[in-house]
């Protein structure tokens, strides 16, 4: 019988039969930890394995992206504990200058089609965008993976999601993603791998594929793959747990309203909601294309007085591309605050803080209560966030 994408990737890394539903031991091409989780990985590792080395230092990495550079003594201590461990064992560190770990691993070629990567990031499954199995894990799992290079995994069943029709120019990859967050909720692909088919995803560039794959976690899925024009495909006779179809032609811009990424409405329903701040960045919308789209809207315009617009590129490479293409200057002239690359904006404690009563519109992926401080967070694509920051209220580019 044919195999789904996830079955094929896991099978290539396991001696067990990697059919859906089986629990297998699989080899991991890359095992990573970051500055949240990483210090606990080090602590677990040293408690359990003393000063002995990891299975393969060359396949082990740290990526510091959450509190970068450290904004408190505690995080400075935690990052240094990881650096000391890394130096001792010859492990590579993508340090606080580099940006979001998953994106850095894609750029550096560590996350490859058909590969397997784990790390202490629940959005590690973003790597599905390049046909790589990625999975977020806790610090026990990752410490064990550092030492053994392996992990146990229950091979999930797959759901086929067919998206008919083409996206209109008004709709971005984020709008499609938020639409799926609403339609699939946290039940329809829960604990499954999703394979996305159809014209709407065939047209997506890598940045758009990243946006879609980054929110599979919010749909409670294991991972998402886009075989259309992608490097990894399923067998023609693979078996699926379900088939879901949507027609997305004419889809208008979408906004997730607090307090859930699955509470999604068309822009028209929330247009005019007053905002205090905006955020563009995150592993969901932190690519050059995302900022270029925002810059198109902000060119020759100003962020409304009294509104803060925070910009966080995903990686240093993105930052450089923004610099070369003039995107950075356009954003700067609009009045935006531009911060160094990383996960700032999603974790409380860096640039992601909102005060009680503050209303924020963000390109991030989560708006759970208290996720980014005490305020209310709406989620949208870069075009809607940029337009909203000019208008001072939730708006689309056509409203300016």
């Amino acid at each position: 019988m044919g195999r789904t994408i996830i079955e094929k990737i896991i099978q290539a890394h396991s001696r067990d039969d990697a059919a859906a539903g089986r629990i297998v031991w699989m080899d991991l091409d890359v095992r990573s930890a970051r500055d949240f989780g990483g210090p606990n990985v080090v602590k677990n590792f040293e408690r359990e394995y003393g000063g002995s080395p990891p299975a393969d230092a060359a396949k082990t990495v740290f990526t510091f992206d959450l509190c970068a550079p450290a904004c408190s003594l505690k995080y400075a201590d935690n990052q240094q504990a990881c650096r000391d461990f890394a130096r001792k064992h010859g492990i590579q560190v993508f340090d606080v200058d580099r940006g979001v770990g998953t994106h850095v691993m894609i750029e550096e070629g560590l996350a490859r089609p058909n590969g397997t990567v784990v790390g202490t990031d629940s959005h590690m499954n973003i790597l599905g965008a390049v046909g790589c199995f990625g999975q977020g894990m806790g610090d026990v799992d990752v410490a064990f993976a550092f030492k053994t290079g392996r992990t146990w995994f229950e091979v999930p069943e797959s759901v086929k999601v067919v998206l008919k029709g083409r996206l209109s120019p008004a709709a971005e990859a984020k709008d499609l993603t938020l639409f799926l967050c609403r339609e699939l909720g946290t039940k329809r692909i829960a604990l499954h791998s999703a394979e996305f088919y159809g014209e709407a995803v065939r047209d997506l560039a890598l940045s758009g594929r990243i946006t879609l794959c980054s929110m599979i976690t919010e749909m409670a899925g294991i991972i998402g793959f886009i075989p259309e024009n992608g490097p990894v495909v399923a067998d023609a006779d693979a078996s699926y747990a379900g088939l879901v179809e949507f027609d997305v032609s004419g889809l208008p811009p979408q906004v997730a309203v607090p307090p859930s990424p699955n509470a999604v409405r068309p822009l028209a329903d929330v247009r005019g909601t007053r905002i205090d701040s905006g955020f563009i960045g995150s592993c969901t919308n932190g690519r050059t294309e995302d900022f270029a789209r925002a810059a198109e809207i902000l060119k020759g315009r100003k962020v409304k007085k009294g509104v803060m617009l925070k910009i966080v590129p995903a990686t240093r490479r993105v930052y450089e591309e923004m610099l070369k293409r003039g995107v950075l200057e356009t954003l700067f002239r609009s009045g935006a605050i531009i911060v160094n690359p990383g996960c700032g904006g999603c974790a409380e404690g860096h640039v992601g803080l909102t005060g009680k009563g503050e209303v924020q519109i963000s390109t991030g992926n989560r708006n759970f209560p208290g996720k980014q401080g005490q305020g209310q967070t709406y989620l949208a694509g870069p075009a809607v966030v940029a337009a909203s920051c000019v208008a001072g209220e939730i708006a689309g580019p056509e409203d300016l």
Binding site: P39, M137, G349, F368
Partner: protein, 179 residues
């Protein structure tokens, strides 16, 4: 004592309307403001610290309590602290119709009992399970009962891997005995 048997006071995570709370995410269980903490003993006082109506759980909870939650418990981040905070309080187990994949793994690998329970909504609606009831279950067979009210609970037994890791204590101890 049979290590497969767990018994304790049920604590049913209901909202103000008396509905079981679904999709409880890790920021409600152990907020990201406390992620710098690496000592498990310090984690207990933050358990459920951001879940409306349950913020005082570290004070009101008792050793051995069995937490009962709605579906997709532990959604969100990969933080191990969201499991460890309950282990620190010596919570006996967590039962829910489903867990997020990462949360479930984290608990399994720590040897902390997390089990799937079926028919929960019907039981809650019919007052078949109420906070304070004593419940008892066998993690191996799935046999479970409400000791206080009588009646069976439908619990899925642990998978072989989960059970082996649970018996060993955690993934590290289990791994040391692997070939």
């Amino acid at each position: 004592m049979d290590e497969n048997i767990r018994q304790g006071r049920a604590v049913v995570l209901l909202d103000k309307q008396g509905e079981i709370i679904e999709d409880i995410d890790t920021d409600q269980i152990f907020h990201n403001a406390h992620l710098h903490i690496t000592d498990i003993a310090q984690m207990g006082s933050y358990a459920l610290g951001n879940l409306e109506g349950w913020k005082d759980f570290p004070k009101t909870g008792r050793e051995g309590d069995i937490l009962i939650a709605g579906r997709n418990f532990g959604a969100g981040s990969s933080r191990q602290q969201a499991v460890d905070c309950f282990a620190a309080l010596k919570v006996g187990a967590i039962l829910a119709p489903s867990f997020s994949a990462i949360y479930f793994r984290n608990a399994v690998n720590s040897g902390f009992p997390v089990l799937k329970i079926h028919g929960l909504e019907t039981m809650i609606a019919g007052a078949g399970i109420v906070t304070g009831d004593v419940i008892r279950f066998d993690v191996r067979s799935g046999r479970a009962e409400n000791v206080t009210r009588g009646g069976a609970l439908k619990i899925e037994p642990m998978s072989p891997v989960q059970y082996d890791i649970f018996l060993a204590g955690d993934l590290f101890k289990y791994g040391k005995n692997m070939k």
